[in-house]
């Protein structure tokens, strides 16, 4: 269990506070109950003392002091009720004392002698020798003859203590139950309250620079979580705007660069075609023209990437056979490999269907093969394979060339990144080929990754979602088509206007 999670902390606090409240209420009720029980007992005994005082006065008036004991025994039977009654004359003579109760809770003989009550009435608690407590009340009664009597009543406090013990037992056994209820109830509540947070987190996880148009679900609850999702959505919107701004900037910039490049190119071309131009000058102007063309290529590449990233660049979205496309492209690239005496092999079975823009995905194959051929020494090997794996179409281009240093690998798809700046510029690269590959793959809901062992070769792996099965004419052939290398017998393209 993650003790730092909001869920754990909320439940812990909730359960702790609830249990503490329960304990506090328990303690307060205990004290209140104790006071109530003691004062009720005292009240009771006081009343009894007053009744006995009344009785004593009547007896003394009519029959003298002698009959009082019998009268008390017959009316109140204190020993049977575990009660204590004592009447003491002011000269210290005890007129009556109740007998010891049967259960021997106290012995009247142990009780201290009567103390004249200060205000006519008093109550005190006395600790007996057997460890029990007793509540004693005393009341001064003045007879008409002038004699003063001290009437004492008493009761053991056992009953009060038993009631209190029971209450305490209830509290102590109730506390863990309350704690368990607090934990269970608390986690249910917290789970309910936090489930929108899980949803928001899961949605936020899915959003990347590719789908900034998406938004988080906003629970229509009017609570803080709704505010949070709205705030996050506003943040995504600002990010989206920033991304769009940067894409628009690239698109606008490449757009604005085209006119000056057109002029530059046109003017230099008109010089190069000038027949009277000395050969050396023509050479220099040709070199300048080459640079203009490269500049045009870079601008073109940047423009393509910005359009791809904005999801605008697909001219078509059709279902086609990636295996066939790859094999045909390898055929077209064969001479390029042969020129460096590189063995280009192709294992691309028919029937690996994907969806997308054929020209763009062909560009992926072209760029990866071109890259592999460029960075493989003469006499090396380049292998192109296409396969269907689970729900993915996988296209791999592997070579045994110079490879990519591990520190450069994470940046290999970055715009303008070059592993070896001097050399790849000689090769005419603008550093955009792999960025374009990455953008095309992302625009097709796929991805591309590179792995490499420096000195032994590199491997580029493209994964695209397979097209959903469609009305298929016959069964697709899954067998590996033998690489058909050399010149294509495809219908050739002749679009010279």
């Amino acid at each position: 269990m993650n003790t730092r999670s909001l869920r754990f902390q909320l439940v812990a606090w909730y359960a702790g506070l609830l249990t503490a409240c329960f304990a506090l209420i328990g303690a307060v009720t205990y004290v209140v109950l104790q006071n109530y029980l003691v004062s009720a007992l005292k009240e009771n005994q006081m009343r009894r003392a007053r009744q006995i005082g009344q009785l004593l006065l009547e007896e003394v008036q009519h029959h003298g002091e002698g009959q009082i004991g019998d009268e008390i025994e017959s009316r109140y039977a204190p020993s049977l009720n575990d009660r204590f009654v004592r009447i003491t004359r002011s000269d210290g003579t005890v007129l009556y004392v109740s007998q010891a109760p049967k259960e021997g809770k106290f012995s009247p003989a142990d009780l201290p002698a009567a103390v004249p009550a200060a205000g006519g009435e008093a109550a005190r608690q006395i600790l007996l020798v057997n460890g029990r407590k007793m509540l004693l009340t005393s009341r001064a009664v003045r007879a008409p003859g002038g004699a003063v009597y001290e009437v004492e009543t008493g009761a053991p406090m056992d009953e009060v203590q038993a009631d209190l013990r029971q209450w305490l037992l209830f509290l102590v056994s109730g506390l863990p139950v309350a704690a368990i209820i607090a934990v269970v109830g608390g986690s249910l509540l917290v789970k309910r309250a936090l489930s929108p947070v899980d949803k928001i987190a899961a949605s936020a996880e899915r959003i990347s620079s590719q789908n900034l148009g998406e938004r988080l679900p906003v629970p229509p609850t009017g609570d803080e979580l709704q505010r949070l999702s709205l705030a996050l959505n506003h943040m995504i919107e600002r990010l989206d705007q920033a991304f769009q701004y940067s894409r628009r900037f690239v698109a606008d910039a490449s757009h604005e660069l085209r006119t000056p490049m057109t002029v530059l190119r046109g003017e230099i071309e008109s010089f190069v075609e000038e027949p009277r131009m000395p050969a050396e000058w023509r050479e220099r102007l040709g070199s300048a023209l080459e640079e203009v063309e490269r500049l045009a290529n870079i601008v073109e590449g940047l423009f393509a990437i910005s359009r791809l990233d904005a999801g605008e660049a697909q001219a078509e979205w059709v279902r086609f056979d990636l295996g066939q496309l790859a094999a045909a492209t390898a055929d077209q690239m064969f001479l390029l490999a042969e020129d460096k005496r590189i063995a280009l092999s192709c294992s691309a079975p028919n029937g690996v269907w994907v969806e997308g823009d054929r020209a763009r995905l062909k560009q992926v194959v072209v760029n990866l093969l071109d890259n592999a051929i460029k960075y493989t020494a003469e006499g090396g090997k380049v292998a192109l394979t296409v396969s269907a794996l689970d729900s993915k179409a996988v296209l791999e281009v592997a070579d045994n060339g110079i490879g990519i240093p591990s520190e450069a690998l994470p940046r290999i798809f970055d715009r303008f990144f070059r592993v070896d700046k001097a050399r790849s510029r000689d090769q005419g690269g603008a550093g955009l080929g792999l960025s374009i590959v990455k953008s095309i793959c992302a625009a097709h809901h796929g991805r591309v990754e590179a792995s490499s062992t420096p000195g032994q070769g590199s491997r580029f792996r493209v994964e695209l979602p397979l097209a959903p099965a469609e009305e298929q004419v016959g069964t697709p052939r899954r067998g590996v088509r033998p690489a058909r290398l050399g010149e294509p017998s495809l219908p050739q393209q002749r679009n010279a206007s």
């Binding site: 002029v263 046109g266 290529n297 660049a313 010149e487």
Partner: protein
């Protein structure tokens, strides 16, 4: 042949007009939409070259008005945008061809001539340059009467160069015509194919027909290199 060039960028207009005049076209230049529409109304042009980014009335609007005036004149569009959707929209609006800036001037000339149905749109099936003979129907190539076996791609490349003999083509133009847009930027493939083509077409013969123009590209011509 009278052409109208509608282009507000003066420098672009200058070199395009100069180049086209060198190709012996009569070229009028209009710097904005209203002026261009007046000129279209006043004069029968054989071809209109239209830049889409114009002040005042946009190029698309100019195209619409030309077409509404029931002018059958072919229109070649120049633009700095190359979105597919835009391309389709312009063809639907009545453009006949389309060139994206920065274009190669040679490419512009090829397209202009194609639209005017002269020059490279040589409908005869046999093309000749010096003693090189290329039959478009049978796709057979002969030099000095001797048959030369070419692969499909080599044939496509040679046909493109021979059909526009004397003209210099950049590698990018060759890629666009002989390969396809997926090969954009892969200019070294042209060099490799030209080398193979030379080995078959030029090396066995004393006169070289395929010329390299440094910085620009290649051309086929029976004129010796200067």
């Amino acid at each position: 042949m009278r052409l109208l060039l509608i282009e507000d960028e003066k420098k672009v207009a200058d070199f395009v007009a100069r180049g086209l005049r060198a190709e012996r076209f009569a070229v009028d230049v209009a710097g904005d939409g209203p002026g261009a529409l007046e000129m279209v109304a006043a004069c029968e042009y054989d071809l209109v070259i239209l830049d889409l980014m114009l002040p005042g009335i946009s190029g698309s609007e100019v195209l619409n008005r030309i077409r509404r005036g029931r002018k059958e004149v072919p229109v070649l569009i120049l633009t700095a945008r190359d979105g597919m959707a835009e391309k389709v929209a312009h063809f639907e609006a009545g453009a006949d061809d389309y060139l994206t800036k920065p274009f190669a001037f040679a490419e512009l000339v090829v397209r202009v001539k194609a639209l005017l149905r002269r020059g490279p749109v040589n409908r005869s099936s046999v093309l000749r340059v010096g003693d090189l003979e290329l039959d478009r129907l049978t796709q057979q190539v002969k030099r000095a009467g001797k048959r030369i076996e070419l692969t499909a791609k080599e044939y496509g490349l040679l046909e493109y160069l021979v059909a526009n003999a004397g003209r210099v083509f950049s590698r990018t133009m060759i890629i666009e015509h002989v390969w396809d847009q997926s090969f954009e930027g892969l200019t070294n493939i042209v060099d490799v194919y030209v080398r193979h083509l030379r080995a078959k077409v030029d090396d066995p013969f004393p006169t070289k027909l395929i010329h390299t123009v440094r910085g620009v590209g290649y051309s086929v011509s029976d004129q010796p290199e200067t």
